[in-house]
Point group: C2
Chain length 699, copies 2
């Protein structure tokens, strides 16, 4: 965090345009700093005043007694570049620009923003904003903000929260405060003209007092930076939980009109970040539920969920949600069940979920023992304890939980519906996560399980990843100089040389050559038009499948050439590709595309109807190891197909994963001239996976 220390933990702060009116944007930070007891030096700057709030006020930047670490800039937009130049000249290290009227307003504002950035960069001054609320470092009482969040208490804690949105971020921070969730850092990055979300989050996570990162994103330019940070966070065991808006078409349109920055298709963001172990939250409450669990719980060593309730129905609700999220609700071991029967009165169920019934009110030890016994089960890795109301028994229950927390090693969360306020406060004081409903509790547990698994996978993959990084594959020597679709045979040679299996085929310039090729390849064959001007052969009616003899091939040749001419009279036609019909149990699509935020991303999806109707595809940043490629397959909604349909044999997952990994390495090796690659379909069966058609576009 050294480089951003002047921003996040400054030893001195200058406030440009400081005001004696503490209700104003340029008056509030000084009031907050004084009220909370910031220990560093504060330099108000304003020619109108001699002193503000008991401090000496300086007429201008030049007259400051020393170079401030940080300057708060709350002056009109047009004055900002000059301010930054002066600050740089005076030796300031960082500035937070509250002022709006920059990139968010249009071309003139964008130009002004660029001028401001250029002014700052000349002296190495780092910039937060403009158009931002600033930041709070709750440890050192750095209240460099005018936002509403600072009006209330800002207790320090293990969570760093970085938000691109000021208004929404403030609301989230206020919700965190209501839960007693301490935000060590609250930073609003605003327009991110210089410092962006990733750099700020990295610096905050580097603070050893921070265990969990939380972020609110509206757009992302630096996807590669985010993924590098995600890797560091996995290694450090510090989860990053992100809420990003723009999940759907409607949302993305709204986001585009709002921020002008868009992380490409949301499915790419979703898959790539999941691959990096980032936990994505649906909304603000979901994010805080997960963050609370991370802030309080050890990481579980597996995905088996134990459930202890005082209501059978709540147990069912929890089991429902667990199944939806892929968490196991294991049947308890025989020995566990026997121990539970000793603990729980006869009429409670002693399978999982475990219903202790209302009886525990009379016998508090019952709840304590049930939780302990369930967490002792070897198949259980974490637990949810469900309670409701219990106004009259809060102190007794707190004592039980204190004991449980001391006695167990595995993580658990409490779900206490309609909990009395002092129950929530008490549990949080004990460092126990407490959620407001069954589903939020399961959602939080699922996030714990997922991050823990991502971390194990990441560490297990370390060697394979290092190998990939060291030898991403030789860059292809012979990319043609021309842009557009690469000829099928040349593309095939390239793919094969990178270890990507493709179906055998030949180019035939006339009908008799096609027949001869079919003879060599073996019937049945397919015939496909080959033209640099026809990328989508099926749409041009340029494909004939399942041809069984020479007559069929001749007829198909004539037909596809004819169709191609009709489709585009000026298309250059090289002939037809003759290809042996491949067989496979399952059709997939594997491909590469260039994402504006993340660079080369690899995609694996189910083909045919699945692609069209269900858009069942998973993305990752390239390259991926074969193990990661297998995990991509596990995320397909239609993954059951890969295990065999209607009693058929399972497909060769290793071969399929190998192909996906090879494609991803090819994408990285080929470099920026590769626009996209589509292997569609890839046919996967029990004996391997092979690409049957491919389209490679160069720029």
């Amino acid at each position: 965090m050294t480089e951003l220390q002047p921003l996040l933990s400054p030893r001195s702060i200058a406030i440009l345009g400081a005001s004696t009116d503490f209700t104003k944007v340029n008056g509030r930070p000084l009031k907050f700093l004084l009220d909370r007891g910031y220990a560093g030096r504060i330099f108000p700057v304003n020619p109108k005043y001699g002193r503000i709030g008991g401090l000496a006020c300086y007429p201008d930047i030049a007259s400051l007694p020393e170079a401030p670490d940080l300057a708060i800039v709350a002056v009109p937009a047009r004055a900002v570049p000059d301010c930054l130049r002066a600050l740089g000249g005076r030796g300031a290290k960082a500035a937070i620009v509250f002022s709006s009227g920059f990139g968010e307003t249009g071309p003139a504002g964008r130009a002004l923003q660029e001028e401001a950035v250029a002014a700052a960069r000349r002296s190495g001054l780092r910039l937060c904003g403009p158009n931002c609320l600033g930041l709070v470092n709750a440890f050192e009482k750095v209240m460099a903000t005018f936002g509403q969040y600072a009006e209330g208490a800002t207790p320090p804690g293990p969570v760093a929260f970085v938000t691109q949105s000021g208004a929404f971020g403030t609301a989230i921070a206020a919700l965190a405060r209501r839960r007693g969730l301490g935000l060590g850092y609250f930073v609003n990055t605003g327009n991110e003209a210089d410092l962006d979300f990733v750099e700020v989050m990295r610096a905050a996570l580097a603070d050893p007092r921070i265990t969990t990162g939380a972020g609110y994103l509206e757009g992302l330019a630096n996807g590669g930076g985010l993924m590098a940070l995600a890797g560091e966070a996995l290694r450090a065991g510090k989860p990053i939980v992100l809420a990003k808006v723009g999940r759907t078409g409607a949302g993305a349109r709204a986001a585009a009109s709002h921020t002008g920055a868009l992380a490409g298709a949301d499915a790419v963001f979703d898959g790539v970040t999941r691959g990096g172990g980032i936990v994505r939250a649906r909304n603000e409450e979901h994010m805080l539920d997960i963050v609370e669990a991370f802030a309080c719980c050890r990481l579980p060593e597996g995905g088996g969920l134990g459930i202890v309730t005082q209501s059978g129905g709540a147990g069912v609700l929890i089991a429902d949600r667990a199944e939806e999220l892929g968490l196991a609700v294991p049947v308890l071991a025989q020995s566990t069940q026997e121990r539970l029967r000793e603990v729980i009165p006869g009429f409670g169920a002693s399978t999982n979920p475990v219903d202790v019934t209302g009886q525990f009110v009379a016998e508090p030890a019952l709840l304590r023992d049930a939780v302990r016994v369930v967490l002792d089960d070897p198949r259980v890795h974490l637990a949810i304890v469900w309670l409701q109301l219990m106004d009259a028994h809060v102190e007794r229950l707190l004592a039980i939980f204190e004991e449980v927390a001391r006695l167990v090693r595995k993580p658990f969360v409490v779900c206490w519906v309609a909990a009395p306020e002092r129950a929530l406060e008490g549990l949080r004081r004990l460092g126990i996560a407490v959620l407001r409903g069954a589903e939020p509790a399961v959602d939080a547990c699922a996030a714990l399980v997922r991050f823990a698994r991502s971390r194990r996978d990441y560490l297990a993959d370390e060697h394979a990843r290092a190998v990939l990084a060291a030898r991403p594959g030789a860059a292809p020597a012979a990319l043609p100089g021309t842009a557009g679709a690469m000829p099928a045979l040349a593309a095939r040679a390239l793919l094969e040389s990178h270890g990507i299996a493709t179906a055998a085929c030949e180019l035939a310039a006339d009908a008799e050559a096609a027949v001869a090729a079919a003879q060599r390849l073996g019937y049945p064959v397919a015939v496909k038009i080959e033209s640099p001007d026809i990328a989508h052969k099926t749409e041009a009616q340029g494909v004939r499948l399942g041809l069984r003899d020479a007559a069929g091939v001749r007829a198909a040749y004539a037909a596809v050439i004819d169709s191609a001419r009709r489709h585009d009279a000026r298309a250059r036609i090289a002939g037809v590709i003759v290809q042996a019909m491949a067989r496979g149990e399952v059709e997939l699509i594997v491909g590469l595309k260039r994402d504006p935020a993340f660079g080369v991303v690899v995609m694996a999806g189910l083909g045919g109807i699945h692609a069209e109707v269900h858009r069942d595809a998973v993305f990752r940043a390239a390259p991926v190891t074969p193990a990661e490629a297998e995990r991509m397959l596990d995320e397909l909604r239609g993954r059951a197909l890969l295990a065999g349909v209607r009693g058929g044999p399972p497909v060769d997952r290793a071969a399929l994963a190998g192909l996906i990994s090879a494609v991803s390495r090819f994408g990285v090796a080929t470099g920026p001239r590769l626009e996209s690659l589509d292997l569609n379909p890839v046919l996967a069966g029990p004996d391997g996976a092979v690409a049957v058609d491919w389209l490679m576009l160069l720029s």
Copy 2:
């Protein structure tokens, strides 16, 4: 509500086993009744006391001065039947049995429960429970409960809440209270030995002070009753919102171990209730969000959502969720945009979502005018207004919302994140629904839209439904006397006579007869084994498709007979069915099954991979009108297939819906001997829909 008035609104209440210890189960109801000022007569019954709580106490039932409307029974389980007999003899009308130790404990308890019901029924005494917390009628202060909910305030309101679970129901009621959501009725039905969820809900909804029903279900026996009630509720415009646990396999297993009652497969419950206009909630908070919106809002006249926020990001989040739930976020009319530009400062976006920015704090009229203008747009039918924090401006904002509520006719909800407590209270006092987050707000709006649409559909369908009810179709004259799979040709004749299109076919007893049949039907044909002992022909390898000539038919005949013998040496073989190969764009499955809760249900789903991998099927209670059948198609996740794949033509939806409706009528007409019917596949294309294979099982 006349029949259950003695239960829900008794003029007098006897408390059997009344205790002077007001902390006990048999002491608490009396305390609650006295404290809240129940105006009816109260008769404690206990030979140990002369007076309790200032009231005369009676030694036994016989000595009561009059027949009580309602008796609260809090005596040991084994004494309950005698109590009920005595109450019946004394002329009591209803009893609430708190006692546990009945059906929930095992065979002996079940026998005791049956004895209790028999005792009650002899005199027409209606029974709530046993094993229940009782009920609260908040209007008349009927505190016939010992539950925790009654410990706090129980303000009356337009919501009737009926719960099968005591513990979870209490938690939900407490959460409702915290939101200021008045529960006119709170009823826990417990074991439902006599009165069930449906009867109680019907009686509560009949109260004109109740506008909204809310229910928590763990199992349901009386599905037909629920659907009849749903129809009444649609006509009355009173929504029923249900949370039912047991959505997944894991949840259903947990529910089975808990309650022993299961509403059949959850997908059936989901589809059938949706078809009845019941709004299903995922969990307790989701239910209360929706109930709050119903309690406060008029029903919208369409599904166009207007969004007014002070944060662009929140607008995106709302638009995301709206798209996920199928709500339109319409582009605003040009005239609306022009009006908005007059209202909103230049830098706010004036499309939908509308961002009024923080500026409205300085100019409150801005928010008011923005909401009015957006709701004025003809494409907007309801709106969400998003705010955050604003501690310093609560009073001003409340004044704005009071004005808005007075000025607009279309419904709107407020989403106020991290709202100050007095803001929530103030809005609720104004009768405005206020949700805690963007997603809950959209979820609530989606429920408003869905119920309003269900109601319109229901009323529009009234005539068609009446026709169906009057003429469900002639019962088939000729059901064979034997159980099991009906012969294919006989089944076909039956289906065709009920207007269900099937592919032409013939039965052939030997190979040459098969060839002759194929000639008549026209090649290509399919050959399928026909045996009363082989229901699943494909699994028995008893099907050959796409046969193009006589040789193929002969070979297929031999092959399927051979396979059938291998599959089951003792199978009686009638020969083979020869069938013309039908063509269709999309494969579907249409069927009937007998559900333990709902009776005959009709299913429509996508076939092949969709059925196996995605379980993409929708259920309804039979019969359905063609319009309702079309709505079933609209609920398929893969519905896009019906609109045409890869540029293909759309299927004939009217024909398909007609077939589904005909199947549903057939199911009702055929009566209880029909176990199930599977039309798999039904091939649908631009020219119609035809069943290609069918399996009809009789009992």
